[in-house]
Symmetry: C2
Subunit: 250 residues, 2 copies
């Protein structure tokens, strides 16, 4: 039986991870086309005009942007809600999700993960150590100060688990891929939240996949994912040549 | 009587315009602190960690990001809905809003409006004509091709007026400030939509304000807005010095 949903995007992207965690929590099955950033072919450009991952396909409906996708999944499958019902709390969750998608996207993804990971892995280029160091030592601490000021001492941000918690935890997974660990003395609320979120079965199931994928060259990734039991699409939109440029996240 | 809502941000920003049109449609009053991009003081940085406008203040709740604000206003004031009830239609509206905030933000705002408007007006610097020409002749036509492919022949995008229509119309107002007119032969669906949206009283009321503000130096803007009957905050967070850098929109 074919799943209702197809997701295009690699599980190493925090934007893809947000969506996959959301689907896991809601008990929704999906087929995956695990394309990496920068390698989408022309068909990919057509369905994702900003060349971003993830894309969700649900019959005629093609959605780009991780937040738009999660909001849609919430509207279509209200069980296991990932946005609070109260308008003020919901707005806070949306703002924190946007803050992370935007600011942690710049700092953790475009600077740290791109410099130390993708640049070498996809383009065989060396890390710009100054960019990486500035992100690690100045920009990320500033973002952590802000998050620390917004988080509760313990528990989820608005009481129940929401996309705010999921998004923060998704981005810091990528920080951990480039060996960045949040200092629990300096930002205890963030560190506690990350531990709690990463212990969720939805994050743990993905972590097993991420760890394998991170060590697998692009051409072998589909094979490894099949072995891990992930339901893959028959065709891939990811057979273009890698092209450098702005990280196609979101 | 003081309005429940305070909006921080200049009416010349398309992100601010989206929110003000949404509030007008819903019949919501607001006080305005009309600060321009780049000039927010330290207090502004504290409440808007990405230094973006608009900010909405509703008692203890401080929201950044125009989309988060419009979603909140919709949740809190369901009258005159700006997002459709059907989940698939709602998702389409959210995606188009995101596409515009992101792509038209880059092309129309950070390149065209910034180069021809803000750079001279705020920083007394000259336009980079190559950046402007590339945006006008290559990047914007590409975005217009995409929008044309997504729009109906006539009428609003999902039947009723929504944030998708409002957002497109908000951005192309800024294109018109730098004398860019959408070619109605080449992109008839976009041209028809713009005409229809700009004729709405909510856009017309703002247009009168925008036209005056666009010709008024920063220090006199509050005076002009008061004269035009806009309810202003007593204090402004916009008394910092202009600092160049990335456009603080969204």
């Amino acid at each position: 039986m074919t799943s209702q949903y197809t997701i295009i995007g690699n599980p190493l992207s925090p934007y893809v991870r947000k969506v996959l965690v959301c689907m896991d929590l809601k008990g929704l099955a999906y087929r995956l086309d695990p394309i990496a950033p920068f390698v989408g072919n022309e068909e990919f450009s057509r369905i994702s005009p900003l060349r971003r991952i993830p894309v969700l396909i649900d019959g005629e409906l093609v959605l780009n942007d991780s937040t738009v996708i999660c909001e849609y999944l919430q509207d279509a499958h209200p069980q296991a809600p990932v946005y609070p019902a109260d308008p003020r709390q919901r707005a806070r969750v949306r703002w924190l999700e946007e803050y992370c998608d935007s600011r942690l996207g710049e700092v953790i993804i475009r600077r740290m993960f791109f410099e130390k990971g993708l640049k070498r892995f996809l383009f065989n280029q060396s890390t710009d150590e100054a960019v990486f160091a500035k992100a690690r030592d100045r920009e990320l601490p500033q973002a952590l100060d802000y998050l620390q000021s917004q988080l509760p001492e313990q528990g989820w941000i608005t009481g129940d688990l929401s996309m705010a918690d999921i998004t923060i935890a998704s981005f810091f997974r990528n920080a951990s891929f480039v060996r960045y660990q949040v200092d629990a003395q300096r930002w205890p609320r963030v560190a506690v939240l990350l531990q709690r979120a990463w212990a969720l079965p939805a994050f743990e199931r993905l972590a097993r996949i991420e760890e394998r994928i991170a060590r697998t060259p692009l051409p072998q990734q589909r094979e490894v994912l099949t072995e891990l039991g992930v339901d893959l699409t028959e065709h891939t939109l990811g057979d273009g040549s890698p092209r450098p440029g702005v990280m196609s996240g979101y």
